[in-house]
């Protein structure tokens, strides 16, 4: 009996499946005309949650509030989600936002691998991506998009200058300790190029898993290599762990120099001035620069009980600029808004006459900072001496060398 019934019944089931479905779906997703919805996709609880995380969401909310909560007479809605540093989770959320929740803009996206996936998705579905945190130069290089923007910094801005400076001091041999994730491997590639062009040599490299509890097995080969410089292609907790263990195993005391280009004020705060003093790196924003930066930082601090990082400030700045562009374009259609974003100069507490290039990279003046000695610090979070201002045009790959297909040569 089982054998007799099954074929017929499978056919019926199949007909239900195929027949019922086909007419049900509209050809494309609905256009969200009645709301401008911005999704902050970030690391809410993991090792990068101090430099991004809940603080990024707060910055986005501040940007919406400062705009009166409305643009073109329609409400601005901010939502946030935790990608847990997992590519599948992050892309799953982004896809749901785009396909089912009328999200117009995806913001922050710390983690370059997730950012590249989001870049592809927003390009295909004609949405805006505001990358204030991922640093891979691919985002505005070979993966660039007409509707994707990289805001605060990238691997190039933070690496090229400091590496050249160390080479000029005669530090010729380099060893990489690199996290096995997209931003870090891209950083290693870029730095290797700069080192070899500057007459230095790379004597070795190790790859550590992202979020390694113990960095010492990866640091010891660097120590044994006796390279002049140990280049830490790490960020967040991996970076602070590596710095702490370098001192635990006597690496810095042995005369080797650590180069850590991707560092933020949250890392300095976590390390403490005693451990971090003297470290030098490039920042896109520092709260204690001028009255404008301090005004934003004060409001942010009241909500988060921490000073904003450059990345969090970038979330505010990029959303603010986006909303201005929506107002100027008179629509939230992504391509029209993106064109306006490139046309208008960026002027806020983070950037003065910042310029959005054709490849989507927003360039602005940046700062070479050095961490103060504990004795120099006069107030909580008073951490940096600004050593030099780096002009905007030196902070990104020259367009003439760009791999971005949007750049016409």
């Amino acid at each position: 009996m089982r054998h007799l019934g099954s074929a017929k019944f499978l056919a019926v089931a199949g007909m239900i499946g195929l027949g019922a479905l086909t007419p049900l779906y509209p050809a494309s997703a609905q256009v969200s005309d009645d709301v401008v919805k911005i999704g902050v996709l970030t690391d809410m609880s993991g090792q990068w949650s101090d430099m991004n995380g809940p603080g990024s969401l707060v910055a986005a909310q501040m940007a919406a509030e400062d705009f009166g909560g409305k643009v073109l007479g329609k409400p601005i809605e901010i939502i946030g989600a935790d990608h847990q540093q997992k590519v599948d989770v992050g892309t799953g959320i982004a896809r749901r936002w785009i396909e089912n929740e009328h999200v117009d803009v995806i913001s922050d996206v710390t983690n370059s691998a997730i950012a590249i996936a989001v870049q592809r998705m927003t390009r295909e579905s004609n949405r805006i991506a505001l990358f204030s945190s991922p640093s891979s130069t691919d985002l505005t290089g070979k993966e660039c998009s007409p509707t994707g923007f990289q805001w605060v910094y990238d691997n190039y801005s933070n690496t090229v200058g400091p590496v050249q400076a160390l080479l000029a001091q005669g530090k010729k041999t380099w060893y990489f300790v690199t996290a096995d994730i997209a931003f870090a491997t891209s950083l290693e590639k870029l730095a290797t190029k700069v080192i070899s062009e500057g007459g230095g040599t790379v004597v070795g490299a190790t790859r550590n898993p992202f979020g390694a509890a113990d960095m010492s097995p990866f640091l010891l080969p660097a120590q044994a290599s006796k390279a002049n410089v140990i280049f830490l292609a790490e960020a967040g907790k991996d970076l602070t762990t590596a710095i702490k263990q370098s001192s635990e195993f006597g690496i810095t005391a042995g005369g080797q120099v650590l180069a850590a280009p991707i560092m933020f004020i949250s890392d300095v705060h976590a390390l403490g001035l005693a451990a971090a003093q003297g470290t030098s790196f490039v920042e896109g924003y520092y709260w204690n620069l001028n009255d404008e930066t301090r005004a934003f930082a004060k409001r942010f601090f009241e909500r988060r009980k921490a000073m904003p990082t450059a990345l969090q400030a970038g979330v505010y700045s990029s959303i603010n600029h986006y909303l201005k562009a929506v107002r100027a374009a008179g629509t939230d259609e992504a391509k029209a808004v993106a064109a306006k974003m490139r046309e208008l100069p960026v002027n806020d507490f983070l950037a003065k006459n910042g310029k959005v290039r054709v490849d989507g990279r927003m360039v602005h003046d940046m700062y070479l900072v050095q961490v103060k000695k504990p004795s120099e610090s006069k107030a909580p979070w008073d951490y940096y001496n600004v050593v030099a201002t780096i002009p905007a045009e030196q902070t990104a790959i020259p367009l003439s060398e760009s791999e971005c297909p949007l750049v016409k040569k």
């Binding site: 099954s6 019944f9 239900i16 499946g17 993991g46 996936a117 113990d214 080969p221 044994a224 967040g236």
Partner: protein
């Protein structure tokens, strides 16, 4: 500079020493695990979580009560050990008579609860814990600079391990303990209070884990997931050393640390997998482990055959399911529904071997994720059409299933779970390191392509229909397999292997076919997942995924046709719609695990069927339970059990 095989000798020594430190932690943890297994026959999956609790305890004492490291070193293990004795009394005691796998499931749930709760509380990135000032600094050993604290860890763990060994092997108390593990009834007859002894042993085992946690806090920081990866390696240690062997765990713990250290010096990429390679070899060559004396301690007492729908009911349910899934996209986000179907397919595939074959694999993620990578690579790099790419992924999983199955089915129970886990970890290693998988970034941008050259899968309706058809087709096939004579023989083997063999069935061949089929369908699910999500990632090959499919299957009802579908739907729904709860979702998962093991071993569907039949006054044997057994006189007892539920 002197070198050993091209590696600076100083580096080799340094990595060896670091390995020894890791080995100290392995030894401390595996010692506790071995004692608990020896006494209680429980494979304590929560051991890593207890280690993490030790570190958190030290951190709490320091930050909330200003209590320093030295006090914490004593206080934390005592308190955590005491709390766990209560847990043993209230919960674990109920498991001793059940199959090992239930103890493992329950403690896996406990681990999820503890880890989730701690992540929600202290954040998943962890908290710093400073090295106590008395042990700061270090000394130069010539070949390396050894921080004092790390030397201290080696010393403490050696002393603790050896004293534990001495107590168990050389004192009267230890003699009683060992006797009780051999025959607790007899020992009880001599007037020794065995239950109390078991409780104290468990407490002591956990205290050792907590002590390791306190020791680890200044090195690894206090992180909710710190026990997560460690416990898997510690399992390997215990299996290699021999389940229940004290000296075996100590020696193997240190040895494995050293082996890992050496691997780090010569072949760094392989360091995280070498433990599993060793484990797989040992299990296959010397199943009792290097020092073990209990080759196969499986003592299956109660058989949990679960009644299922009648064939007629199955068809009605199938048509209903098809109709619901076809109509659902009207109301529900199709992306979510497709995820449910894919995981349902995966869980049903898992159910083939775990539910019907009673071989609970802990490595099924390798088939899901492995097939995803192959399918993705085929579609993206080789430019195959989606149907061929899916075929390639499924074929790869089938082949992998055949090879790993051929090796794994020689073992049963907990050993089977461990062997499959070992193979899955090796696949994970390949996925992490191989150039074509994209490592941590995953294999991105897999094209959906055009099915059979004319159906454009980038259209949402076409994609949904395709997933629906594949899911229903796969499910239908599995339904037919289970209902076929082959399926009945398989269940007969899982109920009583010896009897099936004596009836002339080659049980190994049947199990291998079941395992391979299960792998093939898991691969189908994984390939489909890669096409739908356009991504193949490490999450799908991680052992957490093997745990998730276990949860789905047991929650819905292992050994029932529709149970895994229901289980998958519930778990995916929780992940999707409760994501705002963050880490608490893991806690809920864990609690479900625990509840299932304690009260609903039949799962939702299994329990419902039992209740329904009772309501209808069916005192007779459910028809399907007859089908599960090979008809022969001696089988009456099993059938009676089955009809009673569990």
């Amino acid at each position: 500079m002197s070198t050993i095989f091209g590696v600076p000798s100083t580096l080799v020594y340094a990595q060896l020493l670091l390995g020894l430190i890791n080995g100290a932690f392995y030894a401390l943890l595996s010692l506790g695990l071995a004692v608990i297994f020896g006494m209680m026959n429980i494979v304590n999956f929560a051991h890593g979580a207890q280690y993490m609790l030790g570190a958190v305890g030290a951190w709490v004492l320091l930050n909330y009560f200003g209590v320093n490291y030295w006090v914490a070193l004593i206080a934390v293990p005592v308190v955590i050990g005491a709390i766990n004795m209560v847990v043993e009394r209230l919960v674990l005691q109920r498991l001793y008579k059940l199959d090992h796998i239930y103890g493992m499931l329950l403690t896996f749930g406990l681990a999820l609860v503890l880890q989730g709760a701690m992540s929600a509380w202290i954040g998943s990135s962890g908290q710093p814990y400073a090295i106590p000032p008395e042990l700061a600094g270090g000394r130069n050993l010539g070949f390396m600079y050894l921080p004092n604290y790390r030397a201290w860890v080696i010393a403490v763990s050696l002393v603790v391990c050896l004293s534990t060994w001495y107590v168990i092997e050389r004192t009267a108390l230890g003699a009683n303990l060992r006797a009780a593990t051999e025959d607790s009834l007899l020992v009880q007859a001599f007037g020794i209070r065995v239950p109390r002894m078991v409780m104290l042993t468990y407490g002591a085992g956990i205290a050792l884990a907590a002590l390791a946690g306190v020791l680890a806090a200044p090195i690894y920081q206090v992180n909710p997931t710190m026990g997560d990866e460690l416990i898997i390696v510690v399992f390997a240690v215990v299996v290699i050393g021999g389940m229940g062997s004290i000296m075996g765990s100590i020696v193997t713990g240190f040895m494995l640390g050293v082996v890992e250290g050496l691997t780090k010096a010569f072949y760094p990429q392989g360091s995280s997998t070498v433990a599993f390679v060793v484990m797989a070899i040992v299990l296959l060559v010397r199943p009792a482990g290097l020092f073990g004396s209990k080759p196969d301690a499986s003592h299956r007492v109660a058989s949990h055959a679960v009644p299922d729908f009648t064939p007629q009911g199955q068809k009605i349910a199938f048509v209903l399911m098809a109709a619901c899934l076809a109509a659902a996209p009207l109301a529900v986000y199709p992306g979510f529904l497709m995820k449910v179907m894919i995981f349902a397919l995966f869980a049903c595939a898992f159910n083939l071997i775990a539910g019907y074959g009673k071989l609970v694999s802990f490595g099924h993620a390798m088939f899901l994720g492995g097939a995803g990578y192959v399918c993705g690579h085929a579609a993206k790099v080789w430019g195959l059409s989606p149907e061929l790419a899916i075929l390639a992924g499924t074929a790869a999983a089938t082949l992998l299933g055949l090879i790993t199955g051929w090796l794994a089915i020689r073992r049963s129970g907990i050993y089977f779970a461990m062997v499959t886990l070992a193979f899955a970890q090796m696949v994970y290693f390949v996925a992490l390191q191989a150039p074509f998988t994209g490592g941590e970034n995953g294999l991105q941008g897999i094209p959906r392509g055009t099915l059979f050259g004319f159906i454009d899968l980038s259209k949402p309706a076409a994609l949904y229909t395709f997933v629906l058809v594949v899911f229903l087709g796969g499910f239908f096939l599995m339904m037919r397999i289970v209902g076929s004579p082959y399926g009945r023989i398989l269940r007969g083997i899982s109920d009583h292997e010896m009897r099936a063999q004596s009836l002339g069935y080659e049980s190994a061949r049947f199990k291998l076919v079941a395992f391979t089929l299960s792998a093939a369908f898991s691969g189908l699910a994984g390939s489909l997942k890669a096409i739908v999500s356009q991504l193949a990632s490490l999450t799908d090959v991680h052992w957490g995924m093997s745990g998730e499919v276990l949860l789905m299957t047991f929650l819905g009802g292992a050994g029932t046709l529709f149970g895994p579908v229901i289980g998958a739907a519930i778990v995916v729904t929780m992940q999707n719609y409760l994501s705002a709860l963050g880490q608490w979702v893991a806690v809920i998962h864990g609690l479900i695990f625990i509840a299932c093991v304690l009260w609903f071993r039949g799962g939702i569907v299994g329990e419902l069927i039992v209740r329904w039949r009772r309501l209808r006054g069916h005192k007779t044997v459910p028809p399907d339970a007859v089908a599960t057994s090979i008809p022969q006189p001696g089988n009456r007892k099993d059938i009676a059990m089955a009809s009673n539920g569990n």
